[in-house]
Symmetry: C2
Subunit: 112 residues, 2 copies
Amino acid sequence: MQKHESPLPALFAALGDPVRFAITERLLTQGAQSAGALQDVAEISAPAVSRHLKVLRNAGLVTQTVDGPRRIYAVNPQAVGQLSRWIGGHEAFWAPSLDRLAALLDEKDSTP
Amino acid sequence: MQKHESPLPALFAALGDPVRFAITERLLTQGAQSAGALQDVAEISAPAVSRHLKVLRNAGLVTQTVDGPRRIYAVNPQAVGQLSRWIGGHEAFWAPSLDRLAALLDEKDSTP
DNA sequence: TCGTTAATTAACGTATCGGTTAAATTGAGG
DNA sequence: CCTCAATTTAACCGATACGTTAATTAACGA
């Protein structure tokens, strides 16, 4: 039997860099784009962007498709789904606390 | 006006290390624990655990309370809430794709 | 086929990260 | 006051991460 190494830390690590986070948000909000179009997410060289894209791809967070001479990158919905499920799986833990906070704020107003 | 530096990359980076991810899951599933009780999340020394906890704290992902000589760590629900809101904010993007995947799988069964 | 555009890979320097052991700190108690 | 237990801080070290510029690969049109 094999050790189930969770892919989540890798996903988190990929998003943990500001440039890669910016790239990911761009792809999420504006849809798929070529590497060149992503050039202006930060003031860094093209090779730097390229390597960030490689990290994102290795983590499974983005996919690459080839269109002529350019490579088109898009967020992999399944990866985001994994993140969502992880957080959702712990929602029972943190959501009540937020409710409780809201309740406390309410209480402050209604029952002194 | 000040530049709104998103705290999300820092949160992601904090979770991007396997040890810190394990610590976080422990705190999520088993509740608050002392640094000593977290010792066995990995086969590393106590100072190493301590520094990971410091990173988590600096990222705002965990809180520290003092109980006599020991420090009790707990996940900060607001931080998890931030992650949840980020993903939720992009749900419109990725959730439909998952539906489409399910549809494709269905299709494979019913309409060949 | 030659040149141009798009992107990646190669090679390299520096900074940060994550681990260790040893020393310092802090609180509880005899 | 002295000691013990819990934890953090200090000092150090090797590996990795991220940036750069230069060179390479790949696709396309004149």
